[in-house]
């Protein structure tokens, strides 16, 4: 049963990264849209993401519940030593979630919109940045459970070049996902072209920030290159990602809408495989060289059994409903616009 649970944990992280990532990205792209285009892009985004907005963020909750029920030592250690970045990420989540609702449901359309939009855009940067920082910090070996001073226990655990680089890379990745997603939602050619350009820019940013992650790893003596290229799975995943990226750009030029989304999701899947495979099951690396493993410190057998069953039963309900939701609100199936939107 523990493998089922680990599978769900991994899957919820992946889906949060892909689905949640795409809507973080939508906020990131908004910053890079010219003022004239922003209102139009917002509308596309409202229709594309609005219906699945709340559902996208449930994946994070599922992941966190799996952690605290099944792997409480990992959950409590991470939340103690990464308290500060988690707190900032939470502030980002609060700001984004509420700003999104406010700007779409405020009955009066006036200057307040500028405030909501500004909050939305900034929090769209901060949240994935800190998500990345947290992810980076779990593997960078800076979490020092024996630390005696505030700085090394609660600041240096996450504030380092490597973790921040992962954060920046996450931002670029989210922007890329959103641009690819929105290419398929744009109705006019001009808008489509603008999303393609954004996808290009984000792709370049991802490559640059990705390279920066390797440089950071090198300078901080984190054997990242070994994790990624030191095993067959890593190499295969990197190769698959690279090939699929080439295919992706070819298909964009051919005007395909749906398959490019799948390919972008595939890219992220490959990245997550490469970065998690070598660590598994040691998902947190400590400063003293020790690990926190998914295989020990878990709950009792009965806990794992009931958690696994709850997840299996849950996905019987969730997945069909979610798939039907996404299917129903694809572009082209939205025939009637909500006439009361402003």
């Amino acid at each position: 049963m523990i493998y089922v649970i680990i599978g769900f944990l991994w899957l919820s992280l992946l889906l949060y990264l892909v689905m949640g990532g795409a809507d973080f990205g939508a906020g990131i792209l908004e910053l890079f849209s010219s003022r004239a285009n922003r209102a139009r892009n917002r509308k596309i985004m409202y229709h594309a993401i609005g219906p699945i907005w709340e559902a996208n963020h449930m994946w994070l909750i599922i992941a966190i519940v799996i952690l605290f029920v099944g792997f409480p030592v990992i959950y409590s250690t991470v939340s103690t030593y990464l308290h500060i970045p988690l707190l900032i990420m939470l502030m980002g989540i609060i700001a984004r979630g509420t700003a999104f609702a406010f700007r779409n449901y405020d009955a009066v359309y006036d200057n307040m919109q500028r405030l909501y939009n500004r909050i939305f855009i900034y929090s769209s940067f901060i949240t994935p940045l800190f998500l990345g920082i947290i992810a980076g910090s779990t593997v960078s070996g800076r979490i020092d459970t024996g630390a005696h001073d505030f700085m090394s226990a609660y600041i240096y655990s996450w504030l380092n070049w490597f973790s921040v680089s992962i954060g920046l890379f996450t931002i670029a990745l989210c922007g890329f996902l959103a641009a690819i997603y929105l290419i398929g939602e744009a109705e006019e050619d001009e808008r489509r072209r603008s999303f393609i350009n954004k996808a290009k820019a984000m792709n370049i940013a991802a490559v640059v920030f990705g390279a920066n992650v390797f440089v950071a790893a090198l300078s901080e003596h984190i054997p990242l290159a070994d994790w990624v290229f030191g095993n067959a799975v890593g190499i295969t995943a990197v190769a698959a990602a690279t090939i699929s990226l080439v295919i992706l750009w070819y298909l964009i030029s051919k005007g395909k809408r749906k398959i490019i989304r799948i390919l972008a999701g595939f890219q992220v899947t490959m990245i997550l495989i490469t970065t998690t495979w070598k660590h598994y099951p040691n998902i947190v690396t400590l400063k003293n060289g020790g690990y926190l493993s998914l295989m020990d410190g878990g709950g009792s057998d009965k806990t794992m059994l009931t958690l696994g069953l709850a997840l299996l039963i849950g996905c019987v309900f969730i997945l069909p409903a979610l798939i039907y939701l996404i299917y129903s609100f694809q572009r082209g199936s939205v025939l009637v616009e909500d006439s009361e939107q402003h």
């Binding site: 449930m58 959950y75 409590s76 502030m91 609060i94 449901y105 997840l311 939701l325 129903s328």
Partner: protein
């Protein structure tokens, strides 16, 4: 501020904030389902407008409730890592089921909010009902997790070790039913009265009267029915607390001395030094009767509880008195409503009647906050009753005070924005729903 006090304050603030949004998020869908049903049945466009207007409110409340709930799932670890390390595997079962219920709620909400004129009307209606039902299930599950902290079960605690864990037993602990029932009814009472109160105000002000009258009737029926039922569920809860957490009951009542003919103490100012309550109304024997159905049976007082295991008496007592007092007012309002419904229909147009409801707008939620203060403060100094102290569970990270200030600022500003937005929603009713509602002023 002491780290522990700061952590407790931050937790209280986060829960107190979240509870309002989750109550509204789980109850409003039922109001919408009723008016939506009336629209589908009667084709009276006013009902469609009410449904749409409410659904915008729900979208705002749901989004705020969802993020503040996400925050709570992290805060458990950020503030109480030692607690979660041990308790997570034991009481996590309801949370893992709640994940599913909440997910379904979010999916159904997507269908409902964005699905107007897009699906079969009955499918669309059903998605709204699913939002409500999964919301209630989520609420019950989360309260079941909380009740485990009051009534820990499903494990053996031997030499500081938690063994023989059984998550199902932990979920169905002795307190889950009473607490979940009390909270669910409270959600309906508080939300129903709050919504009815706002619409009553608009009727008094003679704005879009047809619209607000219909909306008032739907919300008020839920609110007053729940308000009348609530004292009975409160009685169940109090008996249950007396059995399992006598110290909590003693603090709620500020009941210092164990003696036969234990009095019911109403109001008053507890004097902790003299161990008595000043200026209170005391009814001898009534507490004994309420707990044991016997006027003479002594009820355990604070004198039987070691000082270090006592909850803060004044806060618990004041909060309990506030909750009960407001609950009684709400029940009276409920009875008045039914008199109007059965005998005095003209009251529904009477200004005094509507004004009563307007004044009652916040009291349900004040009672909810007071009730949670009783539950949580009354459990102190324990985080897991009788097993782990709150002081032993708090994070080792210093400086939680600043985090508390940050949360206070954020939640205060959010509350202001939400109130401001609701004000605008209501103000815009005549404009937004004018065309299809010729009766609007």
């Amino acid at each position: 501020m002491d780290n522990l006090v700061a952590a407790r304050s931050q937790m209280a603030l986060s829960l107190g904030f979240h509870i309002i949004f989750s109550c509204i998020g789980m109850v409003m869908p039922f109001f919408m389902a009723i008016s939506h049903l009336l629209w589908l049945k009667t084709k009276d466009p006013v009902y469609k407008n009410i449904t749409k207007a409410w659904s915008k409110g729900v979208a705002i409340f749901f989004a705020t409730g969802a993020v503040s709930g996400t925050v709570l799932s992290f805060e458990l670890g950020l503030l109480w890592p030692e607690f979660m390390k041990h308790a997570g595997p034991i009481f996590g079962m309801p949370f893992s089921l709640e994940g599913t219920a909440f997910f379904i709620e979010a999916i159904a909400l997507g269908f409902f909010l964005y699905g107007w004129d897009k699906f079969n009307p009955w499918f669309h209606w059903l998605t709204g009902v699913v939002v409500g039902i999964s919301g209630i299930i989520s609420g019950i599950l989360v309260v079941a997790a909380n009740s485990w902290m009051n009534s820990p079960s499903g494990f053996d605690y031997i030499n500081g070790q938690y063994t023989n864990i059984d998550p199902m037993k932990a979920m169905f602990n002795a307190a889950w039913f009473e607490q979940a029932l009390h909270m669910s009814i409270a959600a309906f009472a508080a939300t129903g009265l709050a919504v009815a109160g706002v619409h009553a105000l608009m009727i008094v002000r003679k704005q879009s009267v047809v619209f607000h009258k219909k909306a008032f009737r739907i919300a008020a029926v839920f609110g007053v029915t729940a308000s009348i039922l609530q004292p009975f569920s409160g009685d169940l809860s109090a008996r249950d607390v007396a059995q399992r957490q006598p110290a909590k009951l003693a603090a709620m009542e500020a009941h210092f001395k164990t003696e036969p003919w234990s009095p019911l103490i109403i109001g008053g100012v507890p004097d902790m030094k003299a161990k008595k309550v000043n200026y209170a109304i005391e009814i001898p024997g009534l507490l004994s009767f309420m707990v044991y159905d016997d006027f003479k049976h002594p009820v355990k007082g604070l004198d039987q509880v070691p000082e270090k295991d006592q909850p803060p008496v004044p806060i618990t007592h004041y909060a309990f008195q506030t909750m009960v007092g407001l609950g009684m007012l709400m029940m009276a309002l409920g009875l008045l409503y039914f008199i109007a419904l059965l005998k005095k229909r003209s009251w529904f147009d009477a200004n005094w009647f509507l004004k009563l409801f307007t004044w009652a707008t916040p009291i349900g939620f004040i009672a909810v906050e007071a009730g949670w203060t009783v539950t949580e403060t009354g459990r102190q100094p324990w985080i897991i009753q009788g097993i782990m102290r709150t002081a032993d569970a708090v994070t080792p990270m210093p400086g939680i005070t600043y985090s508390f200030y940050l949360f206070t600022t954020v939640y205060l500003s959010l509350s202001c924005i939400v109130i401001f937005m609701l004000y605008r929603q209501i103000k815009m009713v005549p404009k937004l729903y004018n065309l299809s509602n010729p009766a609007a002023s």
